[in-house]
């Protein structure tokens, strides 16, 4: 043991990537404490998670914000919150990544204004705004306006940043969220690069854009990608993407400066494959996924953030996040990873795989171009249909056993986990008082500001929105005038209107034969419909601001496959809209899907709205991230069924839906199919 050679001298080691943890919750003050704690533990950058009202441009006291304030991220209602969030964190020196999209110009404006308040030299600001609206329509769901004005705002952030805060990354083109919505590696590459092209082409067309400025803009584009469990393929994906980006930058935009040609990307590793069952196994998944994006020096990530072992259970506690932070630190500082050049260069196996991926991605990029480009392909639903289709294939493979997921469809026997025995159930519970406290802070801000200055700032914002002038200067003026997030969002909503994206569920082909179990379910659906006089109708509803659509989509596709007539109007509906749809469509059953943690509040509201339209008795079921305690209470309160990620057998769920409907109508429930 004592014979082992000491590690190579530090001088020959590469610098590690930026080590981050995506976090934020409850309030600006609580998140500030969390960030300072993380920095003290050796984290080298900040990654801010905002709550859903902030991401969708609503104030904390907006009816749609109910139950969501401070839940999945930090609520930022005005510059006062922004200042608190970075209290004692010098912004001139910090590197801050903000996961913000539709309201990116606003949060960037608040950040700049907060830095100005700190007396910082804003030209030195470093960090990232995600600012990729395209993938919001396809996966992430926090879009507000239609594509055209949204893309213009994206461009405004880029041109402003390139001129005024040149070290800032004004757009992080995301393929991460596409993989989380089911994308294959080639789809991930193709749609991300098509998105980058769409934005850069828009910039190219702007008045005053010359070659040098264009090259600088290309150089400021960074990427945010996913890394799944097939880590060798994922490593190849990064090499493929880097090669393709180089070609696009040179050939399409004429960039020649090597520095501006660098393919810069950050990573969050895959979470879709992290399981609720035997959740401790997620740790080795996370480690392997990370390996894929740090292994190859020439395509190594610049920044990495990891989910926690309890990802599928709920929000991580500080200790859970610390564990993931330590995973990165072990990789970076204990292993010899950073001591070598690229260990994959020259491998024919790797090269063949990379070429394969490039060919596949190029074909898919051509398909997008054929649709009229990424924006059109989003509007027409083409890309979304492809994603839902890929995810359906994944779910079918899990159901059939072709895709092994340990703990889900193989090796399911387990000892009880000691990790889950604490009184908190192994997850972070956000204090229910967060919402009320945030509303109080918001009211304080409103009462202390100069109303005339607010009105003037908003007029200027409205004028800039309408005229096409860069939205940033007017937004920064709004920030200093203590305009609120809801006022900024509301003003632009008035000018640009709102949008509802295609759901993609109409594209998946239903098979003639679905196997014996599906045939059995189809028969039951048909017979039950006959007994009740008309085909069974199911409304799938996503109440609140939650954008997690995968579950709703997969249930919808499966339900149609099982013979239901399915109504699904997409994400972010108010409980009233859901009750209205249930009435107008004459459905037999409502299935809600909530993953954002606000299921208790939303379920209560939906039932109130149903009663208001005379449908108090209609059976309701719920799926999503629902802690067992809550599930118990919901069932007690009359929710017919509650499903969570461990319920991966969709045929069984369909069978269950039939049972619920039969029981509700007093039909014999004993007859079984799947």
């Amino acid at each position: 043991m004592s014979e082992t050679k000491p590690a190579a001298p530090a001088a020959t080691r590469d610098k590690p990537w930026l080590i981050r943890t995506y976090s934020g919750h409850s309030s600006a003050a609580a998140s500030n404490a969390l960030y300072r704690g993380n920095l003290a533990k050796g984290q080298t950058g900040l990654s801010v998670a905002f709550d859903l009202p902030t991401q969708t441009g609503y104030d904390a006291d907006h009816p749609l914000a109910r139950g969501e304030v401070g839940k999945v991220g930090v609520p930022i209602s005005s510059i006062d919150d922004m200042a608190t969030l970075f209290d004692q964190i010098p912004l001139e020196q910090m590197n801050t990544s903000m996961t913000i999209n539709a309201t990116a110009p606003w949060l960037l404006a608040l950040y700049i204004a907060a830095a100005e308040r700190q007396g910082a030299d804003t030209a030195k600001l470093q960090g990232t705004v995600q600012n990729d609206i395209i993938k919001e329509y396809l996966s992430r769901g926090t879009y507000i306006f239609p594509p055209a004005p949204s893309i213009r705002l994206t461009g405004d952030v880029i041109t402003y940043s390139v001129d005024e805060i040149p070290k800032w990354n004004p757009m992080n083109v995301c393929s991460y969220h596409l993989q989380e919505a089911g994308a294959t590696p080639t789809q991930e590459i193709a749609y991300a690069l098509s998105t980058a092209i769409t934005i850069l082409d828009e910039l190219k067309g702007r008045p005053g854009m010359d070659e040098a400025e264009m090259a600088r803009s290309v150089g400021r584009i960074s990427f945010f990608v996913n890394a799944g469990i097939r880590f060798i393929e994922e490593c190849c994906k990064m090499r493929a993407m880097a090669a393709m980006w180089d070609r696009i930058a040179r050939e399409r935009y004429g960039v020649t400066d090597e520095k501006l040609l660098r393919f810069r990307y950050g990573v969050q590793v895959n979470s879709l494959g992290l399981t609720e069952a035997q959740a401790e196994n997620n740790v080795q998944r996370i480690v392997l996924e990370m390996l894929g994006v740090v292994l190859s020096k020439n395509a190594r990530a610049r920044a990495v953030q990891l989910p926690a072992w309890n990802e599928a259970l709920g929000l991580p506690r500080p200790w859970d996040q610390q564990w993931s932070l330590r995973v990165q630190q072990v990789m970076a500082f204990e292993t010899d990873l950073l001591e070598y050049g690229d260990i994959l260069d020259g491998s024919p196996v790797i090269e063949a795989k990379v070429n394969d991926l490039i060919a596949g991605a190029e074909a898919e990029m051509a398909a997008v171009a054929n649709e009229g480009g990424m924006t059109r392909a989003v509007e027409s639903g083409y890309v979304k249909r492809r994603l839902v289709e890929s995810h359906t294939n994944r779910m079918r493979a899990i159901e059939s056993g072709d895709l092994t997921i340990v703990g889900i469809n193989k090796y399911t026997e387990t000892h009880p986990s000691p990790l889950m025995t604490g009184s908190d159930g192994g997850i972070l519970k956000v204090d229910a008082s967060a919402e009320g406290e945030q509303i109080a802070r918001l009211e304080k801000t409103r009462s202390q500001r100069d109303p005339a200055a607010v009105a003037e700032a908003l007029d200027r914002l409205r004028a800039a929105a309408a005229s096409g002038e860069n939205i940033l200067p007017a937004s920064i003026a709004c920030a200093h005038a203590r305009v609120t997030t809801g006022e900024w969002g509301g003003t632009l909503r008035e000018v640009f209107g709102e949008y509802r994206a295609p759901t993609g569920i109409d594209g998946v082909i239903v098979g003639r034969a679905g196997g014996a179990r599906l045939e059995g379910v189809r028969r039951r659906v048909k017979e039950t419909g006959d007994a009740l006089g008309r085909p069974l109708r199911l409304l799938i509803g996503k109440p609140g601001l939650d954008g997690h659509s995968n579950g709703a989509e997969q249930i919808a596709v499966k339900a149609r496959d099982a013979g239901f007539e399915v109504v699904y109007d997409g994400i972010r509906l108010s409980p009233k809209q859901i009750a209205t749809a249930a009435l107008e469509e004459g459905v037999h059953l409502i299935g809600l899907s909530v993953l954002s943690g606000s299921h208790l509040e939303l379920m209560e509201e939906v039932r109130r709205e149903l009663a208001a339209v005379g449908l108090a008795g209609l059976p309701v079921i719920l799926g999503g991230i629902i802690p067992e305690d809550d599930a118990f209470h919901l069932r007690e309160g009359g929710v017919a069924r509650v499903y969570t990620p461990k319920d991966a057998d969709l045929n069984a769920i369909m069978d269950d839906l039939v049972d619920v409907i039969r029981a509700h109508h007093g039909l014999d429930p004993s007859e079984q199919a799947a």
Binding site: S380, E498, R500, P502, T503, I505, D506, V510, G511, R512, G514, R522, V525, K526, L532, G533, R534, P535, A556, A559, R560, D561, A562, G563, F564, E565, V566, V567, Y568, D569, G570, L573, S574, K576, Q577, T580, A581, L583, E584, E585, G586, V613, G614, G617, P619, G638, A640, A663, H664, H665, G666
Partner: protein, 327 residues
Amino acid sequence: MTHLAQPAEAPASLAAAVAAGDRGAVARALNLIDDHRAAAHDRAAELLAALPEDRLLGAGHLVGLTGPPGVGKSTLTAALIRHWRGEGLTVGVLAVDPSSPFSGGAVLGDRLRMITPATDPGVFVRSLADRGTFGGVSAEAWPMSQILLAAFDRVLIETVGVGQREVDIADLADTIVFVAQPYSGDAIQVIKAGILEVPDILVVNKADLGAGARRTLSDLAAAIRPAEEPGGWTLQALAASAAIGTGVAETAGTIERHRAWLADSGHLVERRQTAPLRWLLARLVERFGRHGIGRLGGDGAVAERLAEAPTGAFALLGEYNRLLSQH
């Protein structure tokens, strides 16, 4: 939790509530029409017979919207709803989507384009699967349209994205709007002459996408022949962008002019009076073939029976069903 069937609602009072625009009643009435159990069918027939005849024959407007998949029918529907709501008119919509031939299931996706952030009690959207019926609408569309006609000022029926021939919507709507795709790029798409015979109004949508819409419109306009009879209706063609909202007021205006023409020329009442027969014959052919109608004595005999009971096509279908199903 078992929820036994509530005592059946009297069809006559349900009809009165529908005519008063009660949204819950409209929903229950549509459910009843959809219910194909024998007892329900009889009650649905009573319900339809109890709807105010003056409304069904002379009031409101039944507009059919048809055209190829993805052309923008739902988006145009949404735009027309906004327009009509702006004029204070209430709107009922029936939106038909295709059923899967294998599972019988369907994704009812049109309403997604029609919902607004704030719910509006003056708008009612019911989706319908075509349930294997060819021709772009389902068997339930006509009786359901009668419910909506009794309750709302304007009724819009969006068909499945159909080819250019099978347009059953012509059997039941007062005014047919065909939404056409503009020429795209340099692909020369010849619009078949056949489609010009069905609609009353032709809207080339997506005019915002460039010169294609204008070219398509002028080609179409050149192919339109004026009405043969004096005072007849000549097919109107216009361009619109349902997404942006241009041409929508003109489309609504043209729809309104067509309605006025129908009313003045007596065609409105005539179309409404003959719709039940067309619907009944189509259902009989669908279920029993021409042969079945032959057993009933042919189209003429069916028409005579219906003339005796003008509001009773639905009831008569039940009767014929029973008759023809007995071997």
